[in-house]
Structures are given as structure tokens and as C-alpha cells.
């Protein structure tokens, strides 16, 4: 075989193709410019801007209460945690004392959001690598969480349940019961995820050793969330800078050192167990009390700069507010986890095949509105 190729006049040539913006594996309008040689990837260039809505600029126009609902539309799979990030920044700037009840409820719903996001990710990730069944199983369990959200917050995805100073209204009387039902249900269903997919030989061959990312690279690319922790980089904001009620609970930071797609997969699966344990510690003793602290109808932050970071389902979300003392922020900047995680795609995909690119992109868990904002 080798001799025939050597003696012929055939030679391979680099060429480039578009992957996206309407590619089913990019989960949104992400356009990748691939330079490939045969099927070997030479370069991946993400092209952004297809869903840019200038959320940061809109925030400069809005009051601090109105900013919160815009963050729903960034990383829509962890909308509650995004809301919480903005509210925490404003509350820290105003030095408000938030009731314990609010803190606990925020943490419980935040962890439910994380489970919902990870189940959806598990479903679509399986679909990306060719296992369509996972899609239905992931959505089945997510549906129960969505019902809990719909009953308490009024919406399934863009909840906007937080306001600066607390929560919009108290939890629904069924909230505790339903959450306990869900935990009991999900404890029997999560082992099925492993039986169905984790041990599967085709899946393992697609995942193991694909999209390698070392710890040094993870740090230098600014990776966060499960992507960083899959490479052994301890970056859980919940552990290092606890916010809300996360300092009252005990949980493990899931760390894997392999750094391949399979490690990132395992981190997310184990994170769901940890989230369930956090919810179990809090759900039985939600303190009594108010769910709101009275704030002025027009919130004016003191002059200065304020920063707060939280751990969304995808990684570290930072909110930076530069205030000049008026009712709008002078500048508001989001440090979104998806953007930094996308930046390392070229690094981990070069040298692999197009199928490997899909597998590693699936485990990066990109949400495009979060990247574009």
C-alpha cells in the first residue's frame, strides 16, 4: 500500500470547510472554520457573533432590578445561577444582610439547576457521539426539575426568581415535597446512566484519549468548571469562595487527572451525585423568615468597582460592575465560562479527526448564547 502511494503523483492538500452555524453538533449558532488535511484537523477557528445581542450594553441602560432578567438569556441552562451572580454583586455592593432562608433556597435551586443542566448535557452529548437513546433518558429526568421550577418560579427555563435583596416570592408549598420526590427518583435513575452509556465499548473508544488537555494548559487557557476539573485543576468556586449557603454544606470537589473527554464526562456524572447530596443536606431545614430585604425602589450602588464570581453548571461566571453612583452601571462585564472553554477547542482538537472534534466539543458543554452574549 505504501509503495503505491509513494510512486503515484497523488498528494494531499489542506483545504477548509465550514462547520456550522447550523450544524447539529454545535448546539446553536457556532461557526467553526476547519482547516483539514484529509480528515485530520489542522486548525479550528471559531467564528462568533451570530447570536450577539449586546447584553452588556443593554445592562448599562437598565436599572439593577432589570439587569437580572437579561442574564437568563445568557447561559439559559443555568439561568438561576446567573441571576444569583448579579444579585450577589448588587447585594455585596449595598452591604445588604440577606436572610438565611433566601440563601438556602437559592442554593437548593442552584443545585437543581446544575443537575438539570448536566442531565440535558448528558443527553445531547450521547446524541453527538451516536447514542440517541440517552437524549430521551436525559430529558425524562430533567422534566421533573422543570416542573419544580415551573411551580415555584413560574417559568421552566428563564426563571428570573432572584431580585436584588432576596427572592421574588416564597417557595411553593409543594416545593420541598417535590424536590424530595425528585431526589428519590433520580437516585435510582443516575446508576442507569452508567449502565446505559459509561461502560459502553463504542462510547469509551470515542471518548478515551480524545481531546487531551493538560493541567497547565487548562490553567493557561482559563478553563473552569468540569473542563478544568477533568484535567485536575481544582477550580470549584463553590469550594474556594463559597457564596450563599454553600459554606454550611459538605461536599467533595470532583477532580480527575486524565484530562481527556472521558474524564470530563465522569466529572459531570459525579457532580450530579454531589449536587444531590448538597440538596439533601439543606432541604429538610430551610430556615423560617423573610424572603426579601426591603430595598429602595431605585437601587443606586455606591461609587466603585464590584466583582462576584459563582460556579454555574459550565464553570466560573464572573460579574464585574463599575458604578459611578447612578441608578445604572457605568460598565457591566460578564466573565462567561463558555468563552474561555471555547478558546481551548483549537488546542485539543488539532491532530484529531472530525469525529473527535465533535466528541471533545460535546464534553466542553458549550452554550452559544453564553459565549456571544
Amino acid at each position: 500500500m505504501d509503495t503505491t502511494i509513494k510512486n503515484s503523483n497523488l498528494k494531499s492538500e489542506e483545504y477548509f470547510i465550514n462547520m456550522g452555524p447550523q450544524h447539529p453538533a454545535t448546539h446553536g449558532v457556532l461557526r467553526l472554520l476547519l482547516t483539514i488535511d484529509g480528515e485530520i484537523i489542522k486548525k479550528v477557528e471559531p467564528d462568533l457573533g451570530y447570536i450577539h445581542r449586546s447584553i452588556e450594553k443593554m445592562c448599562e441602560r437598565d436599572s439593577y432590578q432589570q439587569i437580572v432578567h437579561l442574564t437568563d438569556r445568557m447561559d439559559y441552562l443555568s439561568s438561576h445561577i446567573n441571576n444569583e451572580a448579579v444579585c450577589l454583586t448588587v447585594e455585596n455592593a449595598l452591604q445588604l444582610e440577606i436572610p438565611d432562608r433566601v440563601k438556602v433556597i437559592r442554593t437548593i435551586i442552584g443545585e437543581l439547576t446544575r443537575i438539570a443542566s448536566h442531565t440535558l448535557w448528558w443527553g445531547v452529548m450521547g446524541m453527538d457521539v451516536g447514542a440517541l437513546t440517552t437524549y430521551f433518558y436525559g430529558f425524562r429526568d430533567r422534566e421533573m426539575i422543570n416542573d419544580i421550577f415551573e411551580e415555584t418560579c413560574g417559568a421552566r427555563l428563564t426563571m428570573n426568581y432572584n431580585i436584588p435583596g432576596g427572592l421574588m416570592f416564597d417557595i411553593h408549598p409543594n416545593f420541598v415535597k417535590r424536590t424530595k420526590e425528585f431526589i428519590a427518583h433520580f437516585k435510582t435513575k443516575l446508576p442507569e446512566y452508567d449502565t446505559l452509556l459509561t461502560g459502553n465499548v463504542i462510547f469509551q473508544k470515542r471518548m478515551k484519549g480524545v481531546g487531551m488537555l493538560t493541567k497547565e494548559d487548562a490553567i493557561s487557557f482559563g478553563a473552569s468548571g468540569p473542563v478544568g476539573r477533568g484535567s485536575g485543576y481544582s477550580c470549584d468556586v463553590r469550594k474556594h469562595h463559597p457564596y450563599s449557603a454553600l459554606d454550611k454544606v459538605t461536599f467533595n470537589e470532583v477532580l480527575k487527572t486524565e484530562g481527556d473527554s472521558f474524564a470530563r464526562y465522569q466529572v459531570r456524572i459525579e457532580e450530579m451525585w454531589e449536587s444531590m447530596s448538597i440538596i439533601e443536606q439543606l432541604i429538610d431545614n430551610i430556615p423560617e423568615g423573610d424572603v426579601q430585604v426591603a430595598t429602595n425602589a431605585v437601587i443606586k450602588l455606591p461609587k466603585g468597582e464590584f466583582y462576584q464570581k459563582v460556579e454555574t453548571a459550565r464553570g466560573e461566571l464572573g460579574v464585574y460592575i463599575n458604578s459611578t453612583g447612578t441608578k445604572n452601571p457605568y460598565r457591566l462585564k460578564f466573565r462567561s465560562p463558555g468563552f474561555s472553554n471555547l478558546s481551548l477547542l483549537n488546542h485539543i482538537a488539532v491532530g484529531g479527526k472530525i469525529g473527535d472534534l465533535v466528541a471533545s466539543m460535546a464534553t466542553l458543554d458549550l452554550v452559544i448564547p453564553d459565549i456571544d452574549r
Binding site: 437598565d62 416542573d147 413560574g154 428563564t158 416570592f169
Partner: protein, 158 residues
Amino acid sequence: MSYFGDIYKGIKTLLTGMSVTGKYFLTSRKGAITQQYPDNRKTLKMFERFRGEVVMPHDENNEHRCTGCQKCELACPNGSIEIIWDRQIDPESGKKKKMIDQHIYHLGMCTMCGLCIEACPTDAIVWAQNFENSVYDRSYLTKVLNQPNSKLKAGVEE
């Protein structure tokens, strides 16, 4: 030898996965989360907090609770609410009073954030659970929430 070993292992893992799907194949009706949506319209009940659209409830005397304070208009992040008001002579007290002419709600622009309903001091507007909002023309999405000839309910302002 490892070639056949791999085949054996591969088939074994496939069967392990299929044991889960097989279980649900046999008991699929139990615990199905899908709803037969257009067919179950009569029995479908949304949660009471579900945000479908903003409405203004009127009582049997065609009276609403909106005083025209415009707090909802100010709270709305994207200008979905417009209130047209003027000062009319109140028949009871004989004084000039602020009254709403039209409470205009642009459903097509609404992001369902709920800030207007939080801001309302008299609970004049509430969420309705209706979610079937598709219409044939965009202009139908602009709604006037107060009914024709409706007036402010007595005692709301105190």
C-alpha cells in the same frame, strides 16, 4: 485471542446497555412524562404561578384596580407596557383625578420577567396561565388590558 476477547467484551457491554432500554420497552407506559398535548387541552392545567401573559382582572361591575400610577411602565425593562392616562373629574368627590384611558400591553415584546407584577402596588395586573399566544398578525399581540367603559374600583387607592 484478544480479538475475540474484544468482540466478547463489546457484545457484553452492548447487552448491558440494552438491558436498561429493554426494561423500559416492556414497561414504557408506566411513568411516561410526555403529554398528548393538543388532545389533552381540556384536562391540561398549568401551575398557578406559570407566566403566560399579563392580564387585568375585572369584577362583575366592570371595575378594575389600576390607578394609573405607571409603576409597571417604569419597571418594565423593554417598554412592553404603555399607559395612556388623563385627569378626569371624579363623579363622587368632584375633584380632578388621574385615571387610565388605556393600559396597553405589547405581548410580542414581553420577556415574562414579572417585574411589572412585582411593582404593582394595588395588584391590578396578574399573570394568566394561557400560553397559546400565536396569532395571524403581529398587531393582535398589542392588547388593551382594561375593558371598554371600565372604571376604577372604589377604595383601591386608600
